[in-house]
């Protein structure tokens, strides 16, 4: 055995590790030859499996743990670069070494651009070259993945910075506007109150006018208040809290609305939930908002179900939502809060927009469209996730919290 490789403990070419190699090869003779070369090689160690179909390879790759694929581009169910594309799309994390009989430099370069780690021409390499190509491909892929992860972390940090900067600017603007607008609003409100007390004897039209002015002023004030809420999120007071207690407290605010509209409430709270690091007041605000939305979605009464549970995070917790989940690692401890209604659900087109500022389906009824966008901003600032999906009986709001204190 070559001493250089035997004693090489450098991670870049750790030839002592056993590689799981899937050979996807159209030609059974080639396949047997590759297996022979690898299993008889004096260095390196391999666990091998072969298939002659791309579709079959998808099944095999999905079931086991694989380090590298030796890929023939021309198979019975796929040919050319399309083969590489399909494989790479399905399994972006597996290292692929293209192994083909077609000798063409431009194709080789294209294969590398399309995600292959190397491009081998059948018959143009010997055992050593093949082993080296496989080990190097695995290491290159690992380095590439690390780089990608670092890039993603950087991108995430950048977008958080932009978000913070944006909130700071909006915050400054909003509090400036709020002060300037609230003063005249206060004047109008006191003016209307004074007129209302003085004009008690006058006709209905004047009373109606005064009432409209008062309500419009109040509305303007509410919008200013929402804007300030939206803007003041940079100051969170994060403390580990019992999420069940926070929900119970939120329910005090919404009980009256529920009773009035004949809506029933069912609670399934998990016992012994770990405490969740949150700003209690902000999360209460979100829960109240979600419950009020649920109530509004059921004008003829219905059922609100609130559930809490703790578990390990899985991608399936995102319920098929396209949400960016990089903040959560599979296996991480999480607490989930779900609020289900039995309303008419949200149509697919609107589902994508519900968190946009000023989007509302209740504009005519006086909705401003800041509720859910504020909720989302609050949840994001907790490093948590909020998603809205339709389930078989209505709409489900789900919030996923981390239990670790790294927010």
């Amino acid at each position: 055995m070559d001493k250089v490789f035997q004693h090489n403990t450098d991670r870049i070419a750790d030839f002592t590790r056993t590689l799981n190699v899937l050979i996807i090869e159209n030609n059974p003779v080639d396949c047997a030859m590759l297996s022979g070369m690898l299993s008889k090689s004096t260095f390196g160690s391999f666990r091998l499996k072969g298939t002659d179909s791309l579709n079959q390879s998808f099944k095999i790759l999905a079931e086991g743990t694989w380090d590298v694929v030796l890929l023939d581009l021309n198979l019975k169910d796929s040919s050319g670069l399309k083969t590489l594309h399909q494989l790479h799309d399905q399994f972006p994390r597996i290292a692929i070494v293209v192994n083909t009989g077609v000798y063409q430099d431009s194709l080789g370069l294209k294969a590398i651009t399309c995600g292959a780690q190397d491009y081998l021409i059948k018959g143009k390499y010997k055992s050593y070259g093949l082993v080296k190509a496989l080990y190097y491909a695995v290491e290159r892929k690992r380095a590439e993945e690390e780089l990608k992860a670092a890039y993603n972390r950087l991108k995430e940090a950048q977008s958080q910075l932009i978000q913070v900067e944006k909130m700071t600017v909006i915050g400054g603007l909003a509090s400036g506007i709020a002060h300037e607008v609230k003063n005249p609003l206060a004047t109008i409100l006191y003016g209307v109150e004074f007129l209302t007390t003085k004009l008690t004897e006058t006709d209905d039209q004047i009373q109606l006018t005064l009432k409209s002015i008062r309500e419009a002023t109040q509305k303007a004030n509410d919008i200013i208040k929402d804007l300030l809420d939206f803007a003041s999120l940079s100051k969170l007071n994060i403390v580990p809290e019992s999420i069940n207690t926070v929900i119970e407290h939120s329910l005090n605010f919404t009980k009256h609305q529920c009773d009035k509209t004949g809506i029933r409430l069912e609670k399934f709270f998990a016992n012994n939930l770990p405490p969740v690091p949150i700003d209690k007041n902000r999360i209460e605000q979100v829960i109240v908002d979600l419950i009020l939305n649920a109530i509004l979605a059921m004008p003829d009464g219905g059922l609100i179900t609130i559930r809490t549970l703790s578990k390990k995070f899985e991608i399936s917790d995102l319920a098929g939502s396209q949400i960016d989940s990089r903040r959560f690692q599979p296996g991480e401890d999480i607490v989930i809060v779900e609020i289900d209604d039995t309303g008419s659900g949200i149509n697919e087109e609107n589902l994508a927009k519900v968190f946009d500022p000023f989007f509302t389906t209740r504009r005519a009824a006086g909705g401003v469209g800041l509720g859910l966008s504020i909720a989302k901003t609050i949840i994001n600032s907790h490093n948590a996730i909020i998603l809205l999906t339709n389930y078989d009986r209505g709409t489900r709001a789900r919030i996923i919290f981390k239990t670790g204190l790294d927010t």
């Binding site: 609230k182 005249p184 206060a186 006191y190 004074f194 208040k225 007041n281």
Partner: protein
């Protein structure tokens, strides 16, 4: 001199003359108060010394000066030391005031806009009982 001794004298210091006029109209309409408006922050201390109010309503952000600064300068005057000051301001929000039980740094706060009822309740709760 208070020619209606049964009425409490309120001094409001705020640069928005429309606002102070409305406060005056509403408070005087209750029959319980006499109100003087001062729209120039620089004249606030003089106005307080002259008027000898039972309570001062004070805006925080004004063009030439700062309400908290005016408050210190008023409190420096011996005869005004016990006069309660209520900050009436648009810079804080109602829920922030409520969270602090209407008290920030030992001073009473009211977040604009309020109803007349909230304003009179606040004034009544801060008036010195023997003033």
């Amino acid at each position: 001199m208070n020619i209606y001794p049964e009425k409490k004298k309120i001094l409001i210091i705020d640069d928005e003359s429309g606002f102070t006029e409305m406060v005056k109209l509403n408070l005087e309409a209750t029959g319980k108060y006499l109100v003087r408006c001062e729209n120039n922050g620089m004249r606030a201390v003089d106005a307080a010394q002259e008027y000898q109010p039972d309570l001062i309503l004070l805006d925080i952000i004004m063009p030439e000066t700062d309400g908290t600064d005016i408050c210190w300068r008023i409190k420096e005057q011996e005869e005004l030391q016990t006069v309660p000051v209520v900050f009436l301001t648009a810079t804080v929000r109602k829920n922030e005031v409520e969270a602090q039980h209407g008290d920030i740094g030992g001073y009473a706060f009211l977040a604009k806009p309020t109803t007349v009822e909230e304003l009179t309740e606040c004034i009544e709760s801060h008036l010195n009982p023997n003033s």
